[in-house]
Amino acid sequence: MPVITYREALNQALREEMRRDERVFLMGEEVGLYQGAYKVSQGLLEEFGEKRVIDTPITEEAFTGVGVGAAMVGLRPVIEMMTFNFSIVAMDQIVNSAAKIRYMSGGQFKIPMVIRGPGGAAHSLAAQHSQSLEAWFCYVPGLKVVMPGVPKDAKGLLKSAIRDDNPVIFIEGELLYGTKGEVPEGEYTIPLGKADIKRKGSDVTIIAYSKMVLLAMEAAEELAKEGIEVEIVDPLTLKPLDETTILNSVRKTNRVVIVEEGWEFGGFGAQIAEIIYRKAFDYIDAPIERVAARNVPMPYAKNLEMATIPNKARVIEAVKKVLYFD
């Protein structure tokens, strides 16, 4: 299998879907001439022209709302947020329009739109420019939320997201673009709403998504040296969530650690924990541990940033805790 970067995988997905379906177009800040702030749209302007790769003024609310309007009448916009931090100024269009128009129109209108771009912690970009907002989007009925952690998933899921008839929030890991992984040759998709077992193990289940999958893998390697076998479940799609795969793993290992980059209070991990407690209560042998960001805005200072976001030591500690090792 070819090894490519996360960035290239996303680029392939966009390119293939734009070739396949004339209704798909890309719109956002710096997506054309500049090839994307994170170079995801490399070469797309060249291939598809200004009609389908649209550089906008700095106006997130506008291009999101314009995307909703275009989607209502039959196009399939892919809206790029330079980063999800800036989707905050477009929240009204996302929450009150994109998510609800199908419902409010009794199914007359669909919004087959993808809103994608980087999210999560990014190094040294501080409070307003470095944060995880997935829990917000998951809260809203009508939105799907996807967060791939490796190139193969990024490509297969983005293709599915573009083909989906619902608005899909597709959050890429800001620090993942340069990471590499194997990606199957030729056409493939990965269905939304299906989790993936990233590592098999029998002692503990770690549920992690996006960049936290890589962190969980590192922790698992280290724990394996001590004879602890971790199973890693990557939900891939946070909404709709594949509860079955998660619960099957939990029923097997009986111990759970949930790792997320977002804030601990009200974070998405709390929702996963609720599902496990409600549906697999009799199978768990220790209280669920969560590893998440501290409940503070992202600090600018490196040392504080490191103290805030989850790290390997905290994951290992949590695993040992659910195993009652201390």
Binding site: L33, D55, P57, I58, V89, H129, P299, A301, L304
Partner: protein, 351 residues
């Protein structure tokens, strides 16, 4: 019945000092020789600061930095008229404003090295922290202006933003609020022709940015942002008008971003060398120098002396900035709420 013209408007453009260093005496604001020298020294200091910031970034001693190269006159000239009692709401490319206001320079380096404490303004300066989301600070400026009116404070509120920011909803909403409530706010746009790789013409179909103010019921003027006298005069008039309670003014300063967007960008990939070369000829510092030379205010030894002094100030600032101890994890909990929450207190125990 014939059609009537209900309203029409004209956009004034103010220019006083041309690239050859000649001034239009009829427009020249009254400035003493000392004041002019002070302006010049601030321009040199700002440029020295900027160059050092770029060098430090390359050495890994600073994070991503947004250069002010080419925009010094817009910043120094406007801030020169600001009083300590006024309020300032910057975006992120205004280091020349900070230096003109006398902000501690070491704190600016401290900030760009990745330490929020650098933005803790000294007690006697009313300057709001840098704002990353484009345009949101304009609304805060309108709010502070509303509060000034409420408290009958005879101050002006000044906010800075870029040409790109004029596309954001917040720009339009701030303008509308300022117009409706006749708020004492001065909107200063640094139109540096670029918003990352998007040129000004792709930002709006309007011929000028200044004209946007008219849709909100107040005056907008354009001026040569590389002409420090025009910037000074335009800003001074606007600030005084705001202080008199006569409402907001929008000033479009036409300047040029000589550098890349930030140290993480490479502008040669999207704009022509010729354009940059053309703007070099309009350099704001060069033209003030030519003017001063003509007036007998500039000599080679003077230039050497202020360059040397600027270098010393900057050396010292870097030294101080780099000797500051990193912040303690407790800080991040301390400043999130008035009092840390129960859960934060639990998390604090880890440190």
């Amino acid at each position: 019945m014939p059609e009537k013209i209900l309203e029409s408007f004209e956009i004034r453009r103010l220019e006083i000092l041309d690239p050859k260093g000649e001034v239009d005496e009829s427009l020249m604001p009254s400035l003493s020789a000392d004041e002019i020298k002070k302006m010049y020294e601030l321009l040199i200091l700002s440029r020295t600061f900027d160059q050092r910031a770029i060098d430090l970034q390359r050495e890994g001693r600073l994070g991503t930095y947004a250069s002010i190269l080419g925009q010094e006159a817009t910043q120094v000239g406007s801030a020169f008229t600001i009083k300590k009692s006024d309020w300032i709401f910057p975006s992120f490319r205004e280091m020349g404003v900070y230096m003109t206001l006398g902000y501690p320079i070491h704190q600016l380096y401290q900030y760009w090295a990745g330490d929020e404490r650098g933005l803790k303004a000294p007690k006697d300066l009313n300057i709001f922290p840098i704002c990353v989301p484009i345009g949101t600070q304009m609304l805060h400026a309108a709010g502070a202006a509303m509060a000034a009116k409420y408290k009958r404070d005879p101050i002006a509120v000044i906010t800075y933003f870029g040409d790109g920011a004029t596309s954001e909803g917040d720009f339009h909403e701030a303008f509308n609020m300022a117009g409706v409530f006749k708020l004492p706010v001065v909107f200063i746009c640094q139109n540096n022709h670029w918003a990352i790789s998007l040129p000004r013409e792709r930002q709006t179909a309007a011929k000028t940015l200044a004209q946007k103010a008219y849709a909100y019921g107040f005056e907008g003027i354009q001026l040569d942002g590389n002409d420090i006298f025009a910037v000074y005069k335009g800003t001074k008039d606007a600030i005084e008008k705001a202080r008199r309670g006569e409402g907001p003014v929008f000033i479009e300063c036409v300047t040029y971003r000589m550098s890349s967007h930030t140290t993480a960008d490479d502008a040669t990939r999207y704009r022509s060398k010729e354009e940059v070369e053309m703007w070099k000829l309009k350099d704001p510092i060069l033209r003030l120098k030519l003017f001063m030379e003509r007036k007998g205010l500039w000599t080679e030894p003077y230039q050497k002396e202020i360059e040397e002094r600027s270098r010393q100030i900057i050396d010292e600032a870097v030294k101080v900035a780099e000797s500051v101890e990193p912040p303690h994890p407790e800080d991040m909990f301390t400043y999130t709420y008035a009092k840390p929450t129960f859960r934060q207190l639990k998390q604090m125990e880890d440190f």
